[in-house]
């Protein structure tokens, strides 16, 4: 789960990391009041999860309340990666000479958390010059570790102590709160060698949330994503007109590829999960049936532990409720022929292979 910048900065504060003074504002009416209590210039920052906020125009530097209101109005209605902000962060600008990069992140290939630091920050971590990467032991790091990183970065002596303190706090936060990523980019360096995180990106390990109930209520939930998560489905909205439902993440992913290759636009990715039973199929079909923009439903089931007869029975139940958009189904595997019989005479279009079903659903025939 990715945190919004303001949530990540609240977390930073709990771990003693410095952050610029800021106020979260939920509507344009609150802008003047917030601006008045901050020292200009002030950055007006869109609180969206999508990356590339700055480039997309989601951050503006303002000097007076009128300008702040105008920019706030613009940013509130600016969608970044399809996402409009529910709130803006007004934050005091921090005068600085240069910018660094620092993160604690999972290195999947090396199966370890690593600290990544660079003396010159930038947008693209991959291509950052002179970056230092150090493997972090599972039980955490000490000052010697942090000093070594500072030395490898060739930091001037005045910056070493603040850097060590920030790295130690960031690592402790990432470990205790089970972050997949805790990133400061940029980390501003002031005239006096003081270091100030200007942005904060934190992703919490979803699978560890049961140990961190404090994060559970941080996100406004999309109605459909909320329903899907209560049902235990893996669900992602994609914005097209063909709902894609299947059992198994890889199978649904490969079905999206088939739909995309055939020129279709998936409305969603819905993985029923392994061993899906009749009620789950029914719940999934009801959910995608009322998802805005959907006008056809593609069901791709490979029967193994999931019984295809359960799938067929589930489809029949929702058909009887009279609520369903056209269904194109590829049902294969265990008890396939019985499933086929159960659906004979219904409006469901049945196919033996995934490519056939996809071709038909994309053409809408």
């Amino acid at each position: 789960m990715r945190l919004f910048e303001y949530q990540a900065k609240d977390l930073f504060k709990q771990y003693g990391l410095p952050v610029p003074r800021s106020i979260l504002v939920n509507d344009v009416d609150g802008i003047r009041g917030a601006f008045a209590s901050l020292k200009p210039p002030v950055a007006v920052k869109s609180q969206v999860l999508a990356g590339g906020r700055g480039k997309a125009g989601g951050i503006a530097l303002v000097d007076d309340p009128t300008q702040a209101e105008r920019e706030a109005r613009r940013i509130f209605s600016l969608a970044i990666g399809g996402e409009k902000p529910n709130s803006l962060l007004l934050e005091e600008a921090y005068p600085h000479e240069k910018e660094m990069y620092l993160s604690v992140t999972l290195d999947r290939g090396d199966r370890a958390f690593v600290a990544i630091a660079a003396a010159a920050g930038g947008v693209d971590v991959e291509s950052m010059a002179g970056k230092v990467i150090r493997k972090i032991p599972l039980d955490g790091i000490d000052s010697a570790f942090a000093i070594e990183v500072a030395t490898l970065l060739k930091l001037p002596p005045i910056e070493v102590a603040p850097f060590v303190s920030i790295l130690l706090s960031l690592e402790r936060m990432a470990r205790e709160r089970e972050c997949e990523l805790a990133e400061i980019n940029p980390l501003a360096v002031g005239k006096d060698g003081f270091l100030m995180p200007l942005d904060a990106k934190v992703i919490i390990d979803d699978n560890a949330l049961f140990r961190h109930p404090e994060f559970a209520k941080l996100h406004p939930e999309d109605e459909f994503e909320g329903e899907a998560s209560r049902q235990g489905f893996a669900f992602v909205r994609l914005g097209g007109d063909i709902a894609v439902v299947g059992n198994g993440a890889g199978l649904v992913l490969s079905t999206l590829d088939l739909v995309g290759d055939a020129g279709g636009n998936p409305a969603c990715f819905l993985d029923l999960g392994g061993g899906a039973q009749q009620e789950r199929i029914e719940a999934a079909l009801r959910l995608v049936n009322r998802l805005p923009g959907v006008d056809r439903i593609l069901v791709n089931i490979y029967g193994g532990i999931t019984r295809t007869t359960d799938v067929a029975a589930g489809i029949n139940t929702v058909l009887a409720e009279g609520i369903v958009k056209p269904i194109y189904a590829r049902v294969s595997g265990a008890e396939e022929e019985e499933a086929r019989k159960l659906l004979a005479g219904t409006p469901v279009r049945m196919y033996r292979t995934a490519p056939e079903a996809v071709e038909a659903v994309v053409k809408g025939q």
């Binding site: 199966r111 890889g250 992913l253 061993g275 595997g333």
Partner: protein
């Protein structure tokens, strides 16, 4: 890494749970020697005639099992995995989904120390059709004995591709679900080393998906190692959006990291034949073997 043989004793952790019971029966039906179960506080019970013990140590002592299939819920998987590794389990297959990353890292560290292998978590398990050994939840009819080694990051897609291979006359020497999480107990590189050296296998099918750099690492490793056995790959997620977790915890693209295109071009450059769809896999394999 040692693959179990016909008749080797197998332990099931959390045998008395819903999935533990169901799959104990299905593994027994396949011919696997499920010899003991473990579930805290359930010692003295039995499932499908198999005795259940309260601790893994007792189950291991009584049955001689060195292989365990773990159905313990995610919150307790770390504890159960440590219990198994400390009791002398050498192959630990973790089916459980939603295990926290830091718990997985601890298990990987402990397995390395104790000279054990982990398959998973968040995987369908491992099957050796010629030995009637099924350690996991895969549907038996999709698989048949043969000489293709199949490993995959996805469950149902493994069944789908195994089913198509079987239908095309390509049985499997071994099929392994590596797992859909960011951290795998054993990695595609480790499996490639293993199956390239496995006498019973003539060819390899590797199924990957978006997220991470396991396939890029695999491609580099293939180039370095100069393998002789033909390799066919399939990568799911060419049309997946960025920054969205696509079902599996590990199936997520960040920026340009973890894209299908990057994986496909790395594998292609390493001489691997990459299928565009699962249905193309048997044809490419036939071409590679001829």
């Amino acid at each position: 890494m040692m693959l179990p043989k016909k008749g080797d004793a197998v332990l099931v952790q959390n045998m008395t749970g819903r999935y533990g019971r169901l799959h104990t029966r299905l593994m027994l039906d396949y011919g696997t020697n499920v010899a003991a179960g473990a579930a805290p506080g359930k010692g003295g019970q039995s499932v499908e005639g198999v005795p259940v013990y309260s601790t893994v140590q007792e189950a291991v002592d009584r049955s001689g099992a060195r292989v365990s299939v773990c159905f313990v819920p995610a919150e307790f998987t770390l504890a159960a995995g440590m219990e198994a590794l400390n009791a002398g389990i050498k192959l630990l297959v973790i089916i459980t989904e939603h295990v926290p990353i830091r718990d997985e890292l601890r298990l990987v560290e402990l397995a390395q120390k104790s000279g054990a292998s982990i398959v998973g978590p968040n995987c369908p398990g491992l099957i050796v059709p010629s030995q009637q050994v099924k350690l996991g939840i895969m549907p038996a009819p999709s698989f048949s004995p043969g000489n293709v080694a199949l490993f995959s990051r996805s469950g149902t897609l493994t069944y789908e591709i195994a089913g198509q291979l079987t239908a095309a006359g390509f049985g499997q020497a071994v099929a392994v679900g590596i797992g859909g999480d960011p951290i795998n107990g054993s990695t595609p590189v480790e499996w490639m080393d293993f199956v390239q050296n496995m006498d019973e296998s003539r060819a390899v099918v590797a199924v990957g998906e978006i997220g991470g750099d396991a396939e890029e690492r695999l491609a580099k490793h293939i180039e370095k190692s100069g393998y002789r056995k033909p390799i066919v790959a399939y990568i799911a997620g060419r049309h997946a959006p960025k920054e969205k977790k696509m079902g599996h915890a590990g199936a997520i693209i960040y920026g340009n990291y973890g894209t299908a295109d990057s994986k496909i071009s790395a594998l292609t450059a390493a001489g691997v034949r990459v299928a565009k769809t699962p249905a193309e896999v048997p044809g490419l394999l036939r071409a590679a073997l001829s």
